[in-house]
């Protein structure tokens, strides 16, 4: 009897171990748990990126921070991590050249999440279209309730939700100065032509140039037309639109208020619109300003640098009209 008890215990433990292994094999491989009715927090990373893109697009249409925040909260991750992921998705969207309104909204949302990066600043600096509220009376907007865990039936609150404190991040200042700005009248489409040179006046290829206007932005790179110079780049512009130009990593436009205007033409049947030729050179190292906290998230006006340069026969800041035959 005394010997039987330990033996029975050993038998029980061996049987339990076999049962445990059998149970795990069944639960993990034969009949694994299946997920249904999950929340966005359960999405795989690739789908999570798609979800974040959709939240950004939706924010562009709805312009509703509370709703966007609710959707982001559904990821159930620390805010800093969501902000970082959203910033990555936004940068990817910018690199893919998604439509400007979407990029602007995504940049604003990233900024609001405290994850502004240099590439977003050009969209933050562009004026935001006026939001026109719907004239039709609407009921409260319902967002999804989550299941199975009890939670959120979302209703638009009557009072605004307190927003997180905005912490400004450093903004890259221009590293190039405008050294010449020339109005050019010649047949052909009106353009903004940019020439980026080094300190010795040699064209610099591969410099990114941002052109922004009221409801859009475009980016091009110098050196893609080598026949016009290794530091040359251009872009066609439209009448009645005011453009601003930023060069390299500059977060603020260096030149603003560029507009094409009619040029005097000898043939009234063939009107000529003025182009702008802008030349840039690096700021001398001693004059390079250190980064400082940037402007408010959606500035209404962007600062313009006024270059001061020593006398040079090739450098002029006064617009001149060149009439080419």
């Amino acid at each position: 009897m005394i010997e039987e008890r330990p033996r029975a215990l050993v038998v029980f433990l061996v049987a339990a171990a076999v049962g445990l292994i059998g149970g795990l094999v069944y639960a993990w491989f034969i009949s694994p748990v299946e997920f249904t009715a999950v929340e966005p927090s359960e999405l795989r990373s690739e789908f999570r990126a798609t979800y974040l893109q959709l939240v950004g697009a939706s924010f562009a249409v709805e312009d509703d921070w509370t709703r966007a925040q609710f959707r982001l909260d559904a990821l159930r991750e620390p805010k800093a991590q969501v902000a970082r992921q959203f910033a990555e998705v936004t940068e990817r969207a910018i690199a893919e050249g998604r439509p400007a309104p979407m990029l602007r909204a995504m940049s604003r949302l990233a900024d609001r999440l405290g994850a502004r990066t240099a590439v977003m600043v050009v969209y933050l600096a562009t004026p935001v279209p006026t939001f026109v509220p719907s004239a039709t009376p609407t009921r409260s907007v319902l967002l999804p309730t989550t299941s199975p865990s009890p939670s959120p039936t979302f209703a638009r609150p009557d009072t605004p939700t307190p927003l997180p404190t905005f912490t400004p991040t450093p903004v890259a200042l221009p590293t190039f100065l405008l050294v010449a700005r020339e109005r050019v009248c010649e047949p052909g489409p009106a353009q903004i032509r940019v020439v980026v040179e080094d300190e010795k006046g040699k064209g610099v290829p591969g410099i990114e140039v941002w052109v922004t206007w009221d409801d859009g932005a475009d980016r091009f790179v110098t050196g893609l037309k080598p026949e016009k110079g290794s530091g040359y780049a251009d872009m066609n512009i439209q009448p009645a639109i005011t453009y601003a130009v930023a060069v390299a990593q500059s977060a603020v436009p260096i030149v603003t208020g560029l507009k094409t205007e009619p040029c005097p033409s000898s043939d009234p049947a063939q009107p000529i619109s003025a182009s702008w030729q802008l030349s840039f050179r690096p700021i001398p190292p001693t004059a390079t300003p250190s980064p400082t906290p940037g402007p408010s998230p959606t500035p209404t006006e962007t600062p313009t640098r006024t270059p001061t340069l020593g006398p040079s026969p090739t450098m002029t800041l006064t617009p001149t009209v060149t009439r080419k035959p």
């Binding site: 049987a15 094999v25 993990w28 694994p32 009715a37 999405l43 959709l54 697009a57 907007v141």
Partner: protein, 119 residues
């Protein structure tokens, strides 16, 4: 002999119970999933956001890909149905308009959503 058999059965049951509980609570495969298993409410929101993204980029292929992740066979019908739900929920006409336009682009036009095509 009978007692030993009973001990074995009890041990197996005890071990299997623990194994099943642990195995289902802590699955070996990643619990992270595809949008097709989102709850109905979140799937509805996915459709709405897809329509809003389409209203911005006009990229029908991309919208199709995003909707296909939900696993529905008739994407147009799914969007149209969401549009009608949005109408019933009293969402702003601009939101319903995005759904109506995407549904129409996917070949699903309904009389109730037709007035919102121009919203």
């Amino acid at each position: 002999m009978r007692r030993t058999l009973l001990t074995i059965i009890l041990g197996l049951a005890f071990g299997a119970g623990i194994g099943l509980t642990v195995g289902w609570i802590a699955p070996i495969s990643s619990p992270q999933t595809a949008p097709s298993v989102l709850s109905a409410q979140w799937q509805s929101d996915w459709v709405l956001m897809t329509a809003q993204a389409y209203s911005l980029d006009g990229d029908l292929n991309l919208a199709r890909q995003r909707l296909a992740l939900l696993g529905a066979s008739d994407l147009g019908a799914q969007v149209a149905q969401r549009g009608e739900e949005a109408l019933a929920e009293g969402l702003p006409p601009a939101y319903i308009g995005t759904l109506a336009r995407l549904a129409a682009a996917l070949g699903a036009r309904t009389p109730t959503l037709a007035p919102y095509l121009t919203q």
